[in-house]
Symmetry: C2
Subunit: 317 residues, 2 copies
């Protein structure tokens, strides 16, 4: 698979940049195709993805590991849950090339300890980074817990860069997400990735508290990757809320009353990303930008690519 | 008193502009001197105030009516409560001139009904506007309630422009401040004034919900005046919190870790005001800017005047 793909990602070593606490990198996040697609269709999707992203010169891809989060809340899921190809498989079989980097998510609750160990051992530390995600609610029965997975990583493959999830919304509710980040960092995390950011103020509050807590403890902050997306319809907006993303009322109102929801959300995301980029630079926090395509609608995918393109010019790369 | 003062405020009719739902006006808010000062000292303060504000060509002054708000919360008041000259008295005896406008606050809970009626009858509707403020907590025994005061106004002096207080923080907590604004508007309020804004997002949420609720009811929005201030010390920051102003964590952190709290807060206020001005213009909401001097320290007063000066150039006046 990989021959045709060489060059669609930057020939650079994201794992090394992360370990050196680099900044201003650009990622693009995808959800693999559904498990029900044929291998031919999966290959077509991979090729299309490469073509779409070719001009962006990304520093890496992010591949999500989708879990059935129906326990997340009691409200009906706006889009049905459809199992997707394992991101590690999608990468290995369809997207991988010799030169580029990928951040592979692991919804660790889905896997046996032995599977996690075997997978960690098999990864190329020059190309692959991973983010462990715990259960989406306390009530969920996890096969392997987040804490146990971190232990396995430390035993088996501590040289593989491990990332954690950062949730500004949780900081808004409880005011201690910065302490969770620091605990994860002390457990070995060398970077963080947020969920989709619509509430810039919440993200700034988290970054600020994290920065000053690091100072107080004599720790060096690790890179935080902020995720942005476009939202092309009120149904996607509803889905963001279901996922736990705080969309400020005024932005919700703007999107609801706009003649072109997609264009309005694109403008909001550009503005939010610029504000966070400027803020992180001022604060001296290493950071990256991740653009996520949350929908499978073509217009939304294309707008996501445009968003990444626009932000690639804002970043000092 | 007034002869020397002619011209330090704009020769314009703020009451009329408010009734016509004008926009982009600039106010400056003061607390009158303590009741213990001599009349000579009060006159000096009034003259100093005129000199300081002369170059701003304000559209009007705002004079606060300070109440002992020790019931506001159980935490100790960071600055002691010191009774101040009645704002109506300070205006009439020291600051008034023939050509300018003033917004006189009335903490209605302090007054007998007959006093409120008499005061309303005595005002010149071409110069004076008023804002009624209710009790600072539900537990406080008010001599006259806010609702009763609005009734008195409607009976006695409905042609005197009546304003209400808008509290974005309350919208954050309960999500219905826009409905309170509309109820006040239906009771006769023709403008609103916010408390000091540090959380721009909260202010935008309120304005947005207010705007779309007006649309839904076929009402025309009335001007909202946003108040900004500088904060020159951590004690003033503490006082803002005590007053119920939400200062986002990242701004608190910035102020706490800055070498120059006053300069940092000035920058934050300029930025916040610009963002709100731009937002209100986009949304088509009539608005004004009010710069409040919250401290009696000279450096903070001077920075407030600079803030008003800077914002006067941002406004399209």
């Amino acid at each position: 698979m990989s021959g045709r793909a060489v060059g669609y990602l930057r020939t650079m070593n994201l794992p090394q940049r992360i370990q050196e606490r680099g900044s201003e990198f650009l990622l693009f996040a995808l959800t693999p195709p559904r498990v029900t697609v044929s291998s031919q269709r999966a290959e077509e999707i991979a090729n299309l993805t490469r073509q779409r992203l070719a001009s962006l010169h990304l520093d890496g891809l992010v591949l999500y590991d989708i879990d059935d989060e129906s326990d997340r809340n009691s409200a009906e899921r706006p889009f049905p849950f459809l199992p997707t190809i394992d991101p590690a498989t999608f990468w290995d079989q369809y997207l991988k090339d010799q030169t580029s980097s990928v951040v592979i998510y692991r919804a660790v609750g889905k896997y046996e300890e032995s599977d996690i160990q075997a997978w960690l051992r098999a990864q190329d530390v020059d190309q692959v980074l991973t983010v462990f995600v715990g259960a989406s609610s306390r009530n969920k029965q996890a096969t392997t817990s987040l804490v146990r997975s971190q232990d396995l990583w430390a035993q088996v493959r501590p040289e593989l860069p491990l990332g954690g999830v950062a949730i500004p919304e949780r900081h808004t509710r409880r005011g201690e997400e910065h302490l969770r980040l620091i605990a994860k960092q002390e457990a070995g995390c060398s970077f963080f990735v947020t969920q989709v950011v619509y509430d810039v103020n919440a993200a700034k509050n988290l970054v600020s508290d994290y920065r000053y807590e690091c100072d107080a403890r004599g720790l060096t902050p690790v890179p935080i990757v902020f995720t942005f997306s476009v939202c092309g319809s009120l149904k996607t907006l509803e889905f963001l809320s279901w996922l736990g993303v705080d969309v400020p009322r005024w932005i919700q109102n703007d999107l609801r009353h706009s003649d072109d929801t997609l264009a309005a959300s694109y403008e909001h995301s550009v503005r939010a990303a610029r504000e966070l980029i400027e803020y992180c630079r001022r604060l001296g926090i290493p950071f990256g930008i991740n653009v996520e395509s949350v929908s499978i609608r073509l217009a939304e995918i294309e707008a996501s690519v445009r968003l990444a393109e626009t932000l690639s010019h804002v970043l000092r790369r």
